[in-house]
């Protein structure tokens, strides 16, 4: 018994010392890498190696220059009796220290040029898969060109975690409801654009960062070596929720990817058939309200606020607003088509008919709006067909 307790005492002591040591190291060592990722594409490794080459060259120059400087500061102090020399120019020396940095720069420029030329995608290189990436405040829209598969990818971190009401998850702010799925070992081309402001699509592990410019299309290629989950974020200030616009990519082996894409296409077909059926029947009011609240919190609350009061001067409130209390078709119009020249997007393509019907019903009855209107998917459908 006593032997045991001394043993455990020792263990405790050793553990305690280790604990204290690791606590001291913790502020810098916990999880965060201190260097650029080497990534999972050939280009990202090239970039990483370039980064390290320049870093070490800068370190060497720094050590030399600061070494000479500190030597002078220590040895040539007045308090040590140093007498000032009277040289103040030397054309030879000055030419030498113009030419040597020039040569070093040429040495840096050669690998940089090679990497850049190799990575350049002017559209002429063949791609096995093309994904259209569209930034829109504040979500990403992915479309697999040549298929019917397209979807929006939104931040999945609950607002309560951001507000500190819930404990934060491991992938806090770096998780989405629907990640982009890509194949490994295939050339993937991204064509990137935006619906509103400039965003920038960035996945560090691929060394791909490209701006999404409204009205223009950028293209960039990548080829992923390893299956896995890769996370990134929007890298261009795009308004209020710029910090809440993550990118998550799941890379799958080619055959798994093909199976996944096949499954998605079937789901799309199925959903279309569901929608057709839905047009023939009515949803119940409570069902509309419950679904509507869910849609509202996901898509609308960021601007109009969960309490429907908006941010005065920036985003109008819906509580008691002319739109929510006024004519139904005007309300449908603004949800389906958005409002040009403002942050209000067109949700016609982002949401299903049922979701749109539900959220409009919700907005017309929540927060004391109480119009009693129940908007049905068929109303949206009729609006679309009548309006076009």
């Amino acid at each position: 018994m006593s032997r045991r307790s001394t043993l455990s005492n020792r263990r405790w002591r050793a553990g305690g010392i280790l604990g204290v040591l690791s606590a001291m190291a913790a502020p810098l060592a916990s999880a965060m890498p201190l260097n650029m990722t080497r990534g999972v594409t050939e280009f990202s490794r090239e970039v990483h190696d370039l980064h390290m080459i320049i870093f070490w060259i800068c370190c060497i120059i720094g050590v030399l220059v600061f070494g000479v400087m500190f030597y002078a500061l220590i040895r040539h102090r007045k308090s040590k009796g140093a007498k000032p020399a009277d040289f103040h120019e030397s054309t030879k020396v000055e030419i030498v220290w113009t030419l040597i940095p020039f040569a070093i720069l040429i040495g840096m420029a050669i690998p940089a040029t090679q990497a850049l030329v190799n990575s350049d995608d002017d559209g002429s290189k063949p791609a096995d898969l093309t994904v259209q990436v569209t930034g829109s405040q504040w979500k990403w829209h992915y479309k697999y060109l040549g298929t019917d598969v397209e979807y929006y990818s939104l931040l999945a971190t609950p607002r309560d975690q951001i507000a500190g009401k819930l404990n934060k998850g491991d992938n806090y702010l770096l998780e989405v409801d629907r990640p982009l799925v890509l194949p490994t070992d295939r050339n993937v081309r991204f064509v990137i654009t935006s619906e509103d402001v400039i965003h920038s699509w960035w996945v560090p592990a691929f060394a791909v960062k490209k701006d999404a410019n409204p009205g223009f299309i950028n293209q960039v290629q990548t080829r992923i070596d390893e299956p896995g989950i890769y996370r990134g974020q929007c890298a261009e200030l795009c308004g209020k929720d710029h910090g809440f616009m993550p990118v998550v990519v799941i890379a799958k082996a080619p055959n798994e990817f093909d199976a996944w894409l096949e499954g998605e296409q079937q789901k799309v077909a199925l959903a279309k058939a569901e929608e057709e059926k839905l047009l023939a029947m009515n949803m119940g009011f409570d069902e509309l309200m419950a679904e509507g609240e869910k849609v509202y919190q996901t898509y609308c609350a960021a601007c109009h606020q969960p309490n429907g009061e908006g941010l005065p001067g920036v985003f109008p409130g819906l509580k008691g607003s002319a739109i929510a209390l006024g004519e139904v078709n005007a309300h449908i119009d603004i949800v389906v088509n958005g409002k040009a020249g403002t942050a209000m997007q067109a949700f016609g393509k982002q949401l299903t008919l049922a979701q749109q019907a539900a959220v409009i019903t919700y907005e017309r009855n929540a927060w004391g709006n109480d119009t009693g209107d129940a908007v049905q998917p068929s109303d949206i459908h009729n609006f679309l067909n009548g309006a076009q």
Partner: protein, 537 residues
């Protein structure tokens, strides 16, 4: 001719014996400062204004760092956070660094070239006094419904046009006024340097501070109208239905970035060239040795200024430029390292075999030399286009430009303030307190900005109000550094006030190794500088 000009000019005409000097001092009371045309008064106004703006902009930085102290949103909402980053940037660039340099130019250029005053004193008064109004307008926009500008100090379209609040109009108006002030200041510096140099002071005998300001003034005149054009286009796009930056109307949002950075890149050199002049004055003084390579310093400054016009697109490597463009801007940007390297080597050679002492101006100058060089290294890394794809818009960039602007521009301004404070006030400053200011600033500024390099490399984007958990510890460290740096600047305020109110009398030349015409004047410098021009051999 205006009456006061005649009286001012009278001594130069050799009629001073008929003149009562008592009327020549400054008027008293508030109106002295409002109506003054004296270069020292205006220099003082600029310096105080810059310091107040430094504190205001710094307070905004404290809000930013407090929000980023831990993950999650605690203090401010993201929209207000964006207003803080935007206005912090605008205030620090246009309200703190640029006016501080203009203040130094006002004080020092006439004293250094043996002139009686600036060449255009009435305009000098105007170019200062419109500034407080520009910033009142900018700051008041924060209280508008919808808040102030929230699109970053670079105000990229269409965020600043289609998607901005009504305060954009106030933002544009205030930027126009700041631009006018800068251009008037620049014209004054150029005219003064070209026309009022003392007999015998050839261009290649001018102190480097005068040279660097001359080149800066030309940069200002070249690029401020470009900024004015950019903000005007933002204004008409937003309010008058034009489509300069709107693709749907035939415009191009990337065009905005080209125009902005054609202004913005030279602008960053506007904020560092005068520093080069300051450091080139201080290092030789405390090394008791002439500046190494004076003429190559002049040529290096001029070539940096020239190159600054052809590198703007290195801010835009991820916008989707053609390969040729990316290569061209990469090579040109890398090239800037050559003249910058020459300057650093020359400064180190100035220290070499000197007789060095470590008074406070020297401490700041040495810190500048080391830390600005580190900022230069990260600049070189950013120039490498493929690597920039990873660095761009991350905290690595934030670390880089704060190293060159805070430990570069602002440290040099502090070095200058300590160096010339005895000349301005007639008193020596409290050396102990000033040293405390230096060491607190040096340690905290590195705690503040150095870890940002790691945040950027690890993948934290800039301008986000909240971040992933892995960045938490380093952000906490950075915020602590930020608060410490902010508080340290109050020591500076104490030193300056104490020095103005009294202290050991300063001799005409308080620094043993100092050279230059300003040290031939008594301390404090007389209200009218050089009533008879000094002879320069």
């Amino acid at each position: 001719m205006h009456a006061t000009r005649e009286i001012d000019a009278a001594p130069d005409m050799g009629v001073e014996q008929h003149h009562d000097h008592a009327h020549h001092g400054p008027a008293s009371g508030l109106m002295r400062w409002v109506t003054t045309t004296n270069h020292k008064d205006i220099g003082t106004l600029y310096l105080w204004f810059a310091f107040i703006m430094f504190l205001v902009g710094g307070a905004m930085a404290m809000v930013i760092r407090a929000e980023l102290f831990q993950p999650g949103l605690q203090l401010v909402d993201p929209h207000f956070f964006n207003q803080m980053t935007t206005v912090h940037g605008l205030i620090m660039v246009f309200g703190a660094v640029m006016p501080a340099f203009t203040g130094l130019a006002n004080w020092l250029v006439p004293m250094m070239i043996g002139a009686p005053d600036m060449a255009l004193p009435r305009m000098n008064n105007w170019s200062f006094w419109i500034l407080p109004f520009a910033f009142l307008i900018l700051l008041s926009s924060l209280f508008m419904e919808g808040g102030g500008p929230a699109f970053g100090w670079t105000f990229y379209a269409p965020l600043s046009t289609t998607y901005s609040g009504d305060s954009t109009a106030l933002f544009v108006f205030s930027v126009h006024i700041m631009g006018m002030s800068s251009i008037m200041g620049a014209i004054n510096v150029i005219v003064t340097i070209f026309n009022l140099r003392a007999p015998g002071m050839t261009m290649m005998k001018m102190p480097l501070f005068v040279w660097t300001w001359l080149i800066t003034a030309f940069l200002l005149i070249a690029v401020m109208p470009v900024l004015a054009g950019a903000v005007t286009m933002v204004l008409t796009d937003k309010f008058f239905g034009t489509d300069f930056f709107n693709a749907a109307g035939g415009g191009d949002p990337v065009l905005f970035q080209h125009i902005f950075w054609f202004f913005g890149h030279p602008e960053v050199y506007i904020m560092i060239l005068p520093s080069f002049g300051i450091i080139s004055a201080i290092l030789p003084t405390f090394a008791r040795k002439k500046l190494f390579g004076y003429s190559s310093m002049v040529y290096a400054t001029a070539s940096i200024a020239g190159l600054s016009f052809i590198v703007w697109a290195h801010h835009m490597f991820t916008t989707g430029m053609p390969l040729f463009g990316e290569l061209f801007f990469m090579y040109c940007t890398m090239l800037i390292a050559v003249p910058t390297g020459v300057k650093v080597f020359n400064w180190v050679a100035t220290l070499w075999r000197g007789s060095i002492t470590f008074e406070v101006p020297m401490l700041f100058a040495l810190a500048f030399l080391v830390l600005f060089t580190i900022g230069g290294f990260s600049g070189l890394m950013l120039a490498i286009t493929p690597a920039d794809f990873q660095y761009h818009d991350t905290y690595f960039v934030v670390a880089h430009f704060h190293y060159v602007l805070v430990t570069g521009a602002i440290f040099s301004i502090m070095a200058a303030a300590y160096y010339w404070l005895p000349k301005w006030t007639g008193h020596m400053f409290d050396e102990g307190l000033a040293k405390l200011h230096f060491w607190c600033s040096l340690i905290s500024v590195n705690l503040l900005f150095f870890p940002m390099h790691f945040l950027g490399l690890a993948g934290m984007p800039r301008r986000i109000p909240d971040y992933a958990l892995q960045f938490a510890d380093v952000n906490k460290l950075v915020s602590i550094g930020g608060f410490a740096f902010g508080l340290s600047q109050l020591i500076f305020l104490a030193v300056v006030i104490k020095c103005i109110r009294g202290g050991e009398k300063a001799p005409a030349k308080p620094w043993e190794g100092a050279e230059g015409l300003e040290w031939t004047l008594p301390s404090p410098a007389p209200y009218h500088t050089f009533e008879t021009p000094p002879e320069v051999k």
